[in-house]
């Protein structure tokens, strides 16, 4: 029984291919979500910091579109969702775009797609029939996984900054961003907008330390923009790679890309549309609230809550980062973990009752019924490897950017911890020397093993880590935060032998820090 059937003409086939290529830059798998009038293709990257979605309108994009929902008893499924390995789709819809002109013989005439799913005899397959000239019929039956997609939410109402610009113009900008760069800082002042691409990544190893990272700034007059309503002197930082992927697709046609965002650490939305395809991308932003925008309004209203009162910039930065970042926009964290910070934190803190549900839009970014494993999708392994291998050697302080981005934890929590862990800077060394085997028996380690990237909110005191390690189930930490604490204990081990004074001095006792480390260092 076919749940969904649609027909694509050759022109649209090319566009579908472009969309799939674009989605492929975010994730290996594509989620499809069909409803009565539209088909939505989405992809969420592994660190959950970037989300891409293409909405194909049933009546505009397809030459035929019919969705017949499956019935379970008297309940009807409004939507059909599934997940397909993008490589399979790409090879089906591969660049046939080129060939009609050259090879008339094999030109595609029509493409019929039907999705069959059901109980019993029906096989669940995503069936694509491509009818070529001379009656050559190519049939693909792809397997799919029946899962609900994860969608990123974006609250338009709170996005007070917006600009729009031609995609061709953006494509020209993007060409200038160097291949080694990771972050893109967008900043406006006095009618000029600067797009700065840079990296803070230090070339791995002790030898090559501090290779001058590439740093490109493109300054544009706001007149270039169709619309430009942005808070002055606001630094908003996104990933260059994601931005490039988006523009690579947007730049295919001449369209207008519209960006919407509120402030650093809240998501940014980029949208454009053409011929029945609505493209939407949501990127996590990083950056510090500084200067005029240092005290964010939404946070200010929440000072009374138990949640971390404000996001003050934390000074704890690795020395290397400081050096590298001098003279450039300053965000102290590396791209991958920082981007994932918001959504992941929201997840990590979920099981603990005391911290109130985050109400910031950024933290509500991902709403889904995903199982726990999902939260721990591996992040950029390759990026980490150098660091991972180095944590134990004394010389490589600089290689890990363990930057604590923000202070955040409720004060009462911090007080209780302080009381117990009796912080002092000198004690810091000990935690570094804790042997790893102590970790083995805990179940959490195994969890950590498969969950290389996460964020926790706990006090960043080295002494504290040791305590957690020895008594992971201390009742005082039992309010659902035990996991987190253990993770942090692991994280402490994962830290390279940075001079402890550094770390502690920057994280004075009594303060809670959000620390962001990749636990995969341990493995």
């Amino acid at each position: 029984m076919a749940i969904l059937t649609f027909t694509i003409n050759p022109e649209a086939l090319g566009k579908l291919h472009d969309a799939l290529v674009s989605l492929g830059k975010f994730s290996e798998a594509v989620c499809l979500e069909a409803s009565s009038d539209r088909l939505v293709l989405t992809a969420l990257n592994s660190s959950k910091s970037a989300y891409a979605s293409f909405t194909l309108l049933g009546n505009k994009f397809f030459s035929k579109y019919h969705y017949k929902p499956l019935k379970f008893g008297n309940q009807q499924n409004e939507k059909f969702t599934c997940k397909i390995y993008n490589k399979a789709l790409l090879s089906v819809f591969k660049s046939r775009v080129v060939d009609p002109a050259r090879e008339k013989d094999t030109a595609v005439e029509r493409c019929d797609v039907s999705v069959e799913d059901g109980e019993g005899k029906t096989k669940s397959r995503f069936i694509i029939k491509i009818v070529c000239r001379h009656g050559v019929l190519k049939t693909y039956r792809l397997t799919f996984e029946s899962v609900a997609p994860m969608h990123a939410l974006f609250v338009k109402e709170s996005a007070n900054n917006s600009w729009s610009i031609s995609s061709k113009t953006l494509r020209e900008f993007v060409e200038h961003f160097g291949p080694g760069t990771e972050q893109l800082d967008i900043y406006s002042e006095d009618g000029r907008v600067s797009f700065t691409s840079y990296t803070e990544k230090i070339m791995s190893g002790n030898v090559e330390i501090l290779k001058q990272p590439l740093h490109t700034t493109i300054a544009v007059d706001t007149l270039e923009f169709g619309e430009f309503i942005v808070e002055e002197k606001l630094h908003i930082i996104i990933s260059v790679k994601d931005f490039k992927s988006i523009i690579a697709h947007a730049g295919i046609t001449n369209t207008v890309v519209k960006a919407l965002y509120s402030r650093p650490t809240s998501p940014m939305q980029l949208t454009y549309s053409e011929d029945g395809i609505l493209s939407e991308f949501i990127l996590m932003t990083i950056g510090e609230s500084r200067g005029a925008s240092a005290t964010p309004a939404p946070n200010a209203s929440r000072t009374g809550t138990k949640r971390p009162a404000s996001r003050q910039p934390l000074e704890a930065r690795s020395s290397s980062t400081r050096t590298a970042a001098s003279g450039m926009p300053p965000p102290p964290t590396t791209a991958a973990p920082s981007l994932s910070r918001e959504p992941t934190r929201a997840r990590v803190s979920r099981p603990s009752p005391p911290p109130p549900q985050p109400s910031l839009q950024s933290e509500a970014l991902f709403v889904t019924e995903a199982d726990d494993d999902r939260r721990w999708d591996p992040a950029n392994f390759d990026e980490e490897e150098d660091e991972m291998l180095l944590w134990d050697t004394p010389g490589d302080k600089e290689t890990v950017t363990m930057n604590s981005g923000h202070l955040k934890a409720s004060e009462n929590q911090s007080r209780s911890i302080n009381a117990q862990s009796g912080l002092s800077a000198e004690d810091g060394d000990q935690s570094h020397t804790i042997p790893t085997q102590r970790l083995e028996p805990t179940q959490r380690v195994s969890e950590v093993c498969c969950n290389p990237c996460f964020v926790v909110d706990v006090p960043l005191t080295l002494r504290g880590f040791e305590d957690y390690l020895t008594e992971p189930n201390k009742p005082s930490y039992a309010d659902g935060q035990t996991n987190q604490i253990q993770y942090v204990a692991l994280l402490a081990l994962a830290l390279p032998r940075r001079r402890p004074q550094d770390l502690v001095a920057k994280a004075p006792s009594g303060l809670w820090c959000s620390c962001l480390v990749r636990a995969s260092y341990l493995l």
Partner: protein, 338 residues
């Protein structure tokens, strides 16, 4: 053996001159799936046979028409022997490294980049898909720099030598020859042919490259007397795919199928013939009672003339349990087959 060599020292038993190494390269490139080729020289031309694991065989016959001069003074009597297929021991027979031979032939860039590896078309999809035989405006041929390629073989034990001359540069290559391996041909029952289809090789190539996207291990070929006439299908980990030539009359030049015929072959092997599919203009697909598949490719080489490249494949033994996996395709024709 030594006596033979001495005997032939004066005049090599085989000498041929070709105006370009390119055609030779293109043809031999079709069968580069194995390292060694068995060469047989006859009055009619050179026969190169390559085989893999005794289940796949590729044969290229370089007709003497491809050469501007072709001299073959066979040492033994029987100069009227003109059936190279019979494999008479009288004919000079040796084996040679095919890779080295191809390398030699392309010293002057006989190969354009797209044809050097048959796996290439998968990588850059349709870009390299255009028939490679077409002369390029900047090729040496077009620029009037065509070189000369001389082949000679003195006799058993002596090397196979190739002399390439191109715009004043001469390269002499002597390739060691080895004892021939007594490879038997894959038996193809000409009198029990079940399927005979002649079609454009291009379409077969398209179909095979289409199916390779699912990275399958097996290729099923089914011929029906009625629609959908010919269908190729394959199943891989990501799903299954099939290509049907439904409008048989338009697509298939000759179509002789008595009853439904299904066989499966190792996909990688069929794919090894992809270079021939790309180069050839037509292909004759034949299947016999036992399921042996013969693909005969007609290649129109530059400068006129037609050459043939032959492939033979031994099928998989088809068993019912093979069909049990989840792929839809097999179920359709699995049952009737056993």
């Amino acid at each position: 053996m030594s006596s033979v060599v001495e005997e032939d020292h004066g005049a090599p038993i085989f000498k041929a001159v070709s105006s370009s190494a390119r055609q030779l390269f293109q043809l031999l490139n079709c069968i580069r799936f194995a390292p060694k080729a068995q060469v047989q020289i006859s009055n009619e031309g050179l026969r190169f046979a390559v085989e893999e694991s005794r289940v796949m065989q590729g044969i290229v016959f370089l007709d003497k028409a491809l050469f501007t001069t072709f001299n073959c003074s066979l040492p033994e009597l029987d100069p009227s022997e003109d059936e190279p297929e019979t494999g008479t021991p009288d004919l000079p027979h040796f084996s040679i490294s095919l890779a080295a031979l191809l390398e030699t032939l392309q010293i002057f860039g006989a190969a354009d980049i797209t044809t050097t590896r048959f796996s290439k078309p998968d990588n850059d999809a349709y870009g390299s898909n255009i028939r490679p035989g077409r002369p390029n405006a900047f090729s040496n041929q077009a620029l009037g720099m065509a070189g000369v390629c001389r082949l000679s073989y003195a006799g058993i034990g002596s090397p196979f030598s190739i002399i390439l001359e191109e715009s004043g540069v001469t390269t002499t290559c002597n390739l060691n020859t080895y004892e021939p391996e007594g490879a038997e041909e894959i038996p193809f029952q000409r009198d029990a042919i079940k399927v005979k289809i002649i079609m454009q090789a291009r379409w077969l190539f398209d179909a095979v490259s289409e199916l390779s996207s699912t990275s399958p291990s097996r290729l099923d070929i089914t011929a029906h007397p009625g629609a959908p006439y010919l269908s190729l299908s394959a199943a891989g980990p990501l799903g299954s795919a099939s290509v049907e030539f439904a409008k048989g009359r338009e697509l298939l030049e000759t179509f002789t199928v008595g009853e439904k015929w299904t066989q499966s072959y190792k996909f990688e092997m069929i794919k090894a013939a992809a270079e021939a599919m790309r180069l050839a203009s037509k292909v004759s697909v034949r299947g016999d009672k036992q399921g042996v598949l013969s693909l005969q490719f007609m290649v129109e080489v530059e400068g006129g003339g037609v050459s043939f490249v032959d492939f033979r494949f031994v099928p998989f033994i088809r068993e019912e349990d093979d069909e049990d996996d989840a792929s839809t395709q097999e179920d359709d024709f699995g049952e009737e087959d056993a």
